[in-house]
C-alpha cells in the first residue's frame, strides 16, 4: 500500500512567529541572531533578508555590512515553542500519526484518510488555509509517498507556491535533476569529494553509480544513499512520544558564563521540578540537562539517578555534576533546561529498616515548609538565597 506523507513546513518559523507578534516586521529583511556579540552567527533568515544575500550561519557583522537596515531579533525559544505547540494542536486533527521533526516542520501520515479528507493535495490545501486563518502563518507542504521526498518537495517550492505533490512512481524522476546537496545523509567531506573530485552535481549522476563505487565514497552507508538517490525512503512517521516528563527551563536575560549564577539558576530549576515531582508522588529514574550557548550550540547530558528521590537537595548534586560535564566551553550560556522522566510512583509501602538521617530529615522538613508557603503565597514568596 502506498503511503501519503505530507511534510508541512513554515519557512523561517521563528521569524514568522515574531512577525505575528510584531506585524511591523512584515515585508522587511529580518534575521535572528544572538545579541551582545558582533561575531555571533545568524540562526534564521527571512526571505527578504535572503534576497539581500544573507544566509543562515553567516557572521552578524558580515550580515550588517551587506544589509544595513536588517532587523535583528534575539532568539525567543519560549515563543517559538508556544507557537509550535499551537501548530501541532491544529494538525493533530488531521491524522493520529504525525511526527514533529524540528520547530516549524511536521510530517503527517495521511495514509487511509482519503474518505475523510479527500486527496492528500486537498487535505494539504485545507490545512494550509486553516493555519493561515487561525495562526496567521504561511505554510508550505510537500506531498509524496515517503518522508524524504516529501521533505525535499517542500524545500523546492518557489515563494508563491504552497504545495508540491510528487505523485506515486514519480519520486526518482523528481529527485533526478536536483543537486546532490539536497540529499540527506551526505556529509561535508563526502559532498566535497562528489562535487570536486568526481564532478557529480545532480542526484541522477549519483543514482547512476553502482554499489561498489558508492561504497568507496560512503562506506557502510552506501545502500542507504543508493536508496535515497532513487527516491526510496522506508522510514515510518514516528508518532510523537507520549512519555510523561517533568521539565523546567530558563532563558537568561543576559547570556552568562559565571558558574555561580548559572548554578543558582540550576538550583531554582531543580526546586521547581522537585516540587512538581512531590505533588505527583513520582520518583524520577532519569534526568537530563541541556545548555544552549550564545552561538546556538547545544550540549545535552543525561544520566540515570542512582537512588529514588524527589527532594531538591538530593537531586541537585546529580544535576550539578551533569552541569559541569555539559558546561565545558568558555562561551556564555543563553538557555538552560532540565527534565526528569522514567518515573517510579511511590506506593506508600512502609520500610522495616528506616535509617533516620537527622540532617536529611531536617532538610525535608524545611522543603515541606517552603512548599506550604509557596502554595499559599506564590512561587516567588520564599526561596533559598543560593537560588536567587
Amino acid at each position: 500500500m502506498f503511503r501519503n506523507i505530507i511534510h508541512l513546513h513554515i519557512p523561517a518559523f521563528p521569524i514568522e512567529v515574531a512577525r505575528v507578534v510584531e506585524p511591523r516586521l512584515r515585508g522587511r529583511p529580518v534575521a535572528i541572531a544572538p545579541p551582545h556579540s558582533h561575531r555571533s552567527l545568524i540562526v534564521s533568515v527571512s526571505l527578504e533578508a535572503r534576497r539581500e544575500g544573507i544566509f543562515k550561519g553567516m557572521a552578524l557583522h558580515q550580515a550588517k555590512a551587506l544589509c544595513p537596515h536588517l532587523e535583528l531579533l534575539p532568539p525567543n525559544p519560549e515563543l517559538t515553542t508556544r507557537a509550535f505547540r499551537a501548530l501541532i494542536a491544529l494538525v493533530r486533527h488531521y491524522t493520529p500519526v504525525w511526527e514533529p521533526s524540528r520547530p516549524g516542520h511536521i510530517y503527517l501520515d495521511l495514509t487511509g484518510t482519503g474518505r475523510l479528507w479527500g486527496k492528500p493535495r486537498d487535505a494539504a490545501w485545507r490545512l494550509n488555509r486553516e493555519i493561515r486563518s487561525r495562526l496567521d502563518l504561511q505554510g508550505v507542504a510537500g506531498i509524496a509517498t515517503n518522508k524524504m521526498v516529501s521533505a525535499i518537495a517542500s524545500r523546492t517550492l518557489s515563494p508563491k507556491q504552497e504545495i508540491m505533490d510528487v505523485e506515486c512512481g514519480q519520486e526518482e524522476s523528481f529527485m533526478a535533476p536536483l543537486k546532490v546537496v539536497m540529499l540527506p545523509g551526505i556529509g561535508r567531506f563526502q559532498l566535497r569529494m562528489l562535487l570536486q573530485d568526481l564532478e557529480i552535481i545532480r542526484i541522477w549522476q549519483l543514482a547512476a553509480l553502482d554499489m561498489e563505487s558508492l561504497r568507496l565514497i560512503f562506506g557502510s552507508r552506501a545502500p542507504v544513499i543508493h536508496q535515497r538517490a532513487h527516491g526510496i525512503d522506508p522510514t515510518p512517521v514516528y508518532p510523537a512520544p507520549s512519555r510523561p516528563v517533568v521539565s523546567e527551563e530558563i532563558l537568561f536575560a543576559e547570556d552568562d558564563n559565571d558558574n555561580e549564577r548559572l548554578l543558582a539558576a540550576l538550583y531554582h530549576l531543580v526546586e521547581r521540578c522537585a516540587r512538581r515531582l512531590r505533588e505527583r508522588g513520582a520518583y524520577p529514574q532519569r534526568v537530563g540537562l541541556l545548555l544552549r550557548y550564545s552561538d546556538t550550540m547545544e550540549i545535552k547530558r543525561r544520566m540515570r539517578l542512582p537512588s529514588l528521590t524527589y527532594w531538591d537537595f538530593e537531586l541537585y548534586p546529580h544535576l550539578k555534576r551533569l552541569f559541569f560535564s555539559a558546561c565545558i566551553r568558555r562561551t556564555r550560556v543563553r538557555f538552560m533546561k532540565i527534565w526528569f522522566w522514567d518515573f517510579f510512583y511511590e506506593d506508600n509501602q512502609l520500610c522495616l529498616f528506616e535509617q533516620p538521617c537527622p540532617k536529611a530529615e531536617k532538610n525535608k522538613a524545611i522543603v515541606q515548609a517552603l512548599d506550604k508557603i509557596r502554595a499559599r503565597y506564590g512561587e516567588k514568596a520564599i526561596g533559598y538565597a543560593k537560588a536567587a
Binding site: 510512583y345 509501602q349 512502609l350 520500610c351 522495616l352 529498616f353
Partner: protein, 392 residues
C-alpha cells in the same frame, strides 16, 4: 579425553551444574561445564566465580583428559537424547575431546561436533582447607530455606539484602530453669517484609558460625536443590565461604560481606491486637484481591471488627473487590476497640508468606498501622513472618 556413561546419570548432574553457569558473563568460559575424566569416573564442574559446583559420577573412561563445553548445549543434548530413547532402553552417551577444543558427542543415533573452550582456562575449584563439615538434616534445611527465601530480594533496598542471613542462637529452654539450647536461625528480608525461622539440629555446636553470615540468594537456591532429595547434607563455613556436600557433590559458595540490618529491633515484643484466621481462607481471599492490584495500586485494606475481617482492594483504573472472612480472637484477647482496626498491606506479601506456611490456622498480631504485622502458626514451629503495612 574419551568417556562413555549413562545419559540419566550425566543429565542429573549437568542439570544441577547448568543452573550455576553464567549465561551473560563477559568471560565465555563461565558459560561452560568442565568434564574431567580420571580413574574414578568423570568430575563435572561449573562456576560463576561466586559459586562453584563439582560432582563425580561413574563412567567408562576410555582415555583421561578434560573438555569444557557450553553448559546449556550439553544439557539440551542430554535432555533430548534421554527423551528420544525407547522404553526400557538403556541410553549411553559417548563424549570425546578432539583437537582445537572440539568435542564430539554421540548418543548412538545423533552425532554432535561442538566447539568447546580450552579446559585449562576454566577457573580451578578451590575448597577451603580444614573446613569442619557438620551433618545436618536435609529436609529441615530445605524447609528453613523454603520458608525464608521468598522474602529475599535481588534488588538492593537501602541495605544490601540480596542474601539469606544465617546464624546460631542460644534460646532459653522454657521447660527447665536457666538451660538453653542451640538453634540455627535463617532470616530473609527485602526491607518491607521479613521471614525468620529457628530449627534445632544435632551437632550444631560443631558448626563454625561465630557471627552470622549472609549467603547469596543464588547459593541458597542451590543448597535447597541439593537438600531436596536425601536425608543428610554436610555443611561448613570457612574463610568467607560456605561448603555444602552431599554424596559426591560439593558446592562452594562465596558469602556476602555486607552487614545484615539489626532485625531484632523490628520484631515487636508486645502486640495490641491478635486474630486467628484460617490460612487457606485468607490465602484465597488475598489472591482474589490481587486480581485488581496493579503496580500503582497494590494495597489491600484489612478492616477488623467484631464480626470478622473485611478485605477491600481498590484500583481506580479497574474497580473494587471486597471479601469477608471469619476471624477468631485467641484466648484471653479482648475484643476489637470501638470502630475496629484498619490497616493496609501489599496483598502479594501476604500471599507469599501464606503459601509457604503449613498451619491450618494462623495468628496475626498488630500494634498499629505504622509497625509490622506478625504472622505465626502452630504447625510452623520456629517460624515468624513480618509484613510492614502501607499508608492508608
Amino acid at each position: 579425553m574419551e568417556i562413555k556413561t549413562q545419559i540419566d546419570k550425566l543429565l542429573a548432574v549437568v542439570s544441577k551444574a547448568q543452573s550455576i553457569v553464567e549465561r551473560r558473563s563477559n568471560m565465555p568460559i563461565l558459560s561452560a561445564i568442565l568434564l574431567v575424566a580420571d580413574d574414578g569416573g568423570i568430575a563435572v564442574s561449573a562456576t560463576d566465580l561466586q559459586m562453584a559446583f563439582q560432582e563425580t559420577i561413574e563412567a567408562e573412561v576410555i582415555s583421561k583428559g578434560a573438555v569444557a563445553i557450553s553448559g546449556r548445549k550439553l544439557y539440551e543434548i542430554l535432555k533430548e537424547s534421554g527423551s528420544s530413547r525407547r522404553e526400557n532402553e538403556e541410553a549411553w552417551i559417548h563424549i570425546k575431546g578432539e583437537a582445537n577444543n572440539w568435542v564430539h558427542i554421540s548418543d548412538g543415533r545423533a552425532k554432535f561436533r561442538i566447539a568447546g573452550y580450552p579446559p585449562e582456562e576454566f577457573p580451578s575449584f578451590v575448597e577451603p582447607e580444614d573446613c569442619i563439615l557438620v551433618r545436618l538434616d536435609a529436609p529441615k534445611i530445605n524447609e528453613m530455606i523454603k520458608k525464608t527465601i521468598y522474602a529475599v530480594t535481588l534488588e538492593e533496598a537501602g541495605f544490601k539484602l540480596s542474601g539469606l542471613f544465617a546464624e546460631k542462637i542460644q534460646k532459653p529452654d522454657q521447660a527447665s530453669n536457666g538451660d538453653s539450647h542451640l538453634l540455627l536461625r535463617m532470616v530473609g528480608t527485602d526491607g518491607h517484609r521479613l521471614s525468620l525461622i529457628d530449627k534445632e539440629f544435632e551437632g550444631l555446636e560443631s558448626l563454625e558460625l561465630p557471627k552470622g553470615v549472609m549467603i547469596p540468594k543464588k547459593g541458597v537456591m542451590e543448597i535447597s536443590k541439593l537438600s531436596a532429595d536425601g536425608d543428610v547434607i554436610e555443611m561448613g563455613f570457612k574463610q568467607n565461604s560456605c561448603i555444602v556436600k552431599k554424596d559426591s557433590a560439593t558446592l562452594a559458595i562465596r558469602l556476602l560481606d555486607t552487614k545484615f540490618p539489626d532485625y531484632h529491633a523490628v520484631i515487636p515484643k508486645e502486640m495490641s491486637h491478635r486474630a486467628e484466621i484460617n490460612r487457606l481462607e485468607l490465602l484465597h481471599a488475598m489472591k482474589k484481591m490481587l486480581i485488581l492490584a496493579s503496580d500503582r495500586y497494590r494495597a489491600v485494606k484489612m478492616a477488623f471488627d467484631d464480626s470478622g475481617l473485611t478485605l477491600v482492594s481498590t484500583n481506580p483504573e479497574l474497580g473494587e473487590a471486597e471479601e469477608r472472612i471469619e476471624v477468631r480472637l485467641p484466648d484471653g484477647e479482648a475484643g476489637w476497640s470501638e470502630g475496629g482496626v484498619e490497616l493496609a498491606f501489599n496483598a502479594r506479601y501476604f500471599v507469599d508468606v501464606l503459601q509457604v506456611m503449613e498451619s491450618e490456622d494462623i495468628q496475626l498480631g498488630f500494634i498499629d498501622n505504622s509497625r509490622p504485622c506478625v504472622i505465626t502458626g502452630e504447625a510452623d514451629e520456629g517460624f515468624l513472618g513480618l509484613i510492614m503495612p502501607m499508608r492508608l
